[in-house]
């Protein structure tokens, strides 16, 4: 992949935020495990947070990428009804975030790079999740990911649903697939608040500036991974191949850095985010 592939498209294109929302949620869009299957060898899943339980909405495991060891922590949606229920529609609970943190810290202990895949409508808003400290789990991940002494690569492959996605999102490199979205609130919830009508989600999607192009322009992500044809759902293998190029390049860039440099680079990247004020 050429460097230009990581650049955003030229400005002036028509606003296609809502189309991207639908593509990001497309029923045939590849999910995390579809990429894992295509990108890695010897993937071995690691379960449980050793505190409460094992959350199927986040899949973690050890794998090899072109011979190199890499730890995976990925938000996982289901495809059929049974799988959707099993994965809780990709909405993690505190034990999911705590599992992810545990395996990321395990990887860092042995100097292994970490890949996280973001694809969730959001953290699960339920009684049990609140009881077990959903907010605390997300907050801890944000702080502790900043401390990890090994390379962290984040790819938003579908829906980057607010804090629930960001809880796995503090990386040295953060990429989005071309049709992925990343937002502080879902377009439906936003529409319900500002227009008092969830059916106006289309308008809210545009207002929220949630596309990969928007985030790139706002300086919040490092690059955009192109998708094949009409979108990743049309050719999973080709989509995975494009992710592979980006992952290889990121690993090549980050592997030479010392643990201190990695922590520093990650900190400085997030420190600069949001210089949208006058003084």
């Amino acid at each position: 992949m050429s460097d230009t592939a990581l650049q955003p498209p030229a400005p002036g294109e028509t606003n296609i935020a809502w189309q991207r929302v639908q593509l990001a949620r497309h029923p045939k869009r590849p999910h995390s495990l579809d990429y894992v299957q295509r990108l890695f060898t010897d993937f071995h899943e690691i379960h449980g947070d050793r505190r409460f339980g094992d959350d199927p909405a986040i899949v973690c495991g050890m794998a090899f990428f072109e011979g190199r060891p890499i730890m995976i922590a990925a938000q996982q949606k289901g495809r059929d009804t049974k799988q959707k229920l099993y994965r809780n529609f990709g909405m993690p609970k505190p034990e999911g975030y705590r599992k992810a943190l545990r395996v990321m810290q395990l990887a860092a202990k042995f100097g292994r790079p970490i890949l996280t895949l973001l694809d969730t409508p959001g953290a699960y808003p339920g009684i049990d999740a609140e009881e077990r400290g959903q907010a605390e789990a997300i907050a801890s991940n944000l702080r502790e990911m900043a401390r990890l002494r090994s390379p962290v690569i984040v790819i938003c492959i579908g829906e980057g649903g607010s804090g629930g996605a960001l809880a796995l999102g503090v990386g040295n490199r953060v990429y989005m697939l071309e049709n992925a979205i990343y937002s502080v609130i879902s377009p439906e919830s936003c529409a319900a608040i500002i227009y008092r009508d969830a059916k106006l989600a289309e308008r809210a999607a545009a207002a929220l500036k949630l596309t990969a192009q928007d985030l790139y322009r706002l300086g919040l992500i490092d690059g955009i991974i192109p998708e094949p044809g009409e979108g990743a759902h049309t050719d999973w293998d080709a989509a995975a191949a494009m992710v592979r190029e980006t992952l290889r390049k990121a690993l090549d860039e980050l592997t030479p850095l010392s643990p201190e440099e990695l922590v520093q680079q990650r900190f400085e990247k997030f420190r600069r985010m949001g210089n949208f004020f006058t003084e």
Binding site: A123, P125, G126, I127, A129, E130, E131, R132, G133, Q134, A135, E136, I138, A139, S140, L142, R143, E144, A146, R147, S162, G163, L166, A167, G169, V170, Y182, S183, V184, I185, S189, C190, I193, I194, Y195, A207, L208, K209, L210, D214, L215, L218, L220, R266, F267, F270, R271, M273, G274, N275, F276, F277, T278, E279
Partner: protein, 286 residues
């Protein structure tokens, strides 16, 4: 339920209740906790805690600073104003909403970043202003709090953040979201520097504020009865399609579930923080 002590003796007697409609409006008010009519002056003298039932009324950021600090304070980064990165428009343009809020609150955004002394000890303290777009966090709140953390770290002065917020600010989209990561990363460095950070959660603290700095204190303490959570109660009700149990997501619920270090009534809050800082840092240098 007098589980707190009145900080100041009553100096005035309330006018007879029958007179209130005839005389001044707003002299009396109804407590949201016990539904009893209380004298405004008595409420103010009791740090805006109902003298009858202990209900904690919401207070603004300046009142909070007055309650926690010894005297005057310095403020930082006051002039910072959002440039509206999304050019967001809802019922009205975000820029106009900001201007109206500035007018109404006399603040440029939803946090006051201050420095002062607490029982003689220098502290930095950030207080979120609920009246400013629900105390929500956009780029300005994110930057001001991050700078306060860095100031605390550089000068090794304890940091206190008092939260009252609906979470990340929708009108600044993903820019707001990333402030959660920015602040949390700065708190990682403060943690490594071993400078104390005390988080005070007040009514309400939800969303991206709870899911970042509000839950990351060396101590996380809350006022009684405060709504604290990640998802708002209405969102949860819509998801699970059932009524939520009484007391769900209130301070006492979080305490029971192991998510808070302590629930501290407002009249004891300053003393609690003071003693905690004594514990962490040793006594104040004379």
């Amino acid at each position: 339920m007098p589980w707190f002590t009145r900080p100041k003796p009553k100096t005035e007697t309330p006018p007879a209740q029958g007179e209130r409609r005839v005389r001044t409006e707003g002299l009396w008010l109804k407590c949201e906790g016990c539904r009893q009519i209380i004298w405004r002056k008595a409420l103010e003298q009791n740090l805006h805690v109902c003298p009858k039932c202990g209900y904690h009324f919401k207070i603004d950021a300046v009142t909070r600073l007055r309650q926690l600090l010894d005297g005057d304070w310095e403020t930082y980064d006051d002039s910072m104003v959002s440039t509206d990165p999304l050019e967001f428009v809802d019922a009205k343009p975000y820029k106009e909403r900001l201007a109206a809020m500035r007018q109404a609150t006399n603040l440029n955004d939803a946090v006051i970043s201050a420095g002062g002394t607490l029982n003689g000890r220098p502290v930095y303290i950030c207080v979120l202003e609920l009246k400013f777009i629900g105390g929500s966090m956009g780029a300005v709140v994110g930057e001001k709090i991050t700078r306060a953390i860095e100031r605390a770290m550089a000068r090794r002065i304890p940091l206190i953040i008092v939260s009252a917020s609906g979470g990340a600010r929708m009108q600044e989209g993903a820019v707001s979201l990333m402030q959660m990561a920015k602040i949390s990363a700065a708190l990682m460095r403060l943690d490594e520097a071993r400078v104390p950070y005390i988080s005070v959660l007040t009514d309400p603290t939800t969303g991206g504020v709870t899911a970042s700095f509000a839950m990351l204190g060396d101590l996380n303490i809350a006022e009684p009865g405060a709504l604290i959570g990640f998802a708002g109660p209405r969102v949860i009700e819509q998801t699970i399609r059932q009524k939520l149990p009484e007391g769900f997501q209130r301070s006492e619920f979080l305490l029971k579930n192991g998510m808070l270090d302590a629930v501290v009534p407002r009249p004891q809050l300053k003393q609690f923080i003071s003693k905690a800082l004594d514990f962490f840092c040793g006594p104040v240098a004379a």
